[in-house]
Symmetry: C2
Subunit: 128 residues, 2 copies
């Protein structure tokens, strides 16, 4: 499985899908979007920070492991950092696989691990 | 949960995302794509047929049920019919939800039920 990991301080632009194989049977795209209400509080946005070198290493580790458990073909991961207003995406993940089952599992487990074990933090702030 | 169900004989065009709520925290898009190799045979494409009125009724039934089990906000379902060449999508599903968990479950279970209980058939043909 090939993968790309990007961090950006700009709004996430969904990259064009560049399928390298005629064996892709499932394309799955996920966007995690900042919601207005969190714990009963109306937000204007969230502020994301990462320790990028370690975040990248942890992601590479988890992607290698998950790629063996749920073999897929290609993956793109983009995390936005800095101020992200309500309604905009902080996270984009695309998984291309032969079958939907592996792609769904890889995506779900990757986001679970991202929250648990990758040094990216979000803070509630009143404004940017 | 609001949902749209479309059948088309043209290539699927991903519709613009028109989020009605600031509570959307997860956007999930799935495309099922015709693969070249199926059961060791190299295909040029697949031919899809549906009994549309019943397919729509079964999808409405399953979406209502799944929407209660895995509450989401909006869903778009598009199935292409007729000849679909290798590399093109026969199916597009978008799920918008508050959280990724429900969106992933709704999507996964919907595609499982689509294959089991919705009158849409695919045939292997040499050409269009």
């Amino acid at each position: 499985m090939t993968f790309e990991i990007h961090f950006t301080h700009e709004p996430i632009v969904v990259p064009p899908e560049n399928r390298s194989s005629r064996e892709v049977g499932a394309s799955l795209e996920f966007q995690g979007i900042v919601r207005e209400m969190e714990n009963g509080q109306a937000l204007k946005g969230l502020f994301y920070e990462a320790y990028e070198p370690m975040a990248r290493r942890r992601l590479e580790y988890h992607l290698s492991e998950l790629g063996r458990e749920h073999p897929c073909l290609e993956m793109v991961f983009i995390h936005r950092l800095g101020w992200v207003p309500v309604g905009e995406a902080s996270l984009f993940i695309r998984v291309l696989g032969k079958h939907r089952g592996e792609a769904l599992k890889l995506l779900g487990e990757l986001v679970d691990r991202l929250k648990l074990d990758v040094p990216i933090w979000k803070q509630v702030r009143e404004t940017s």
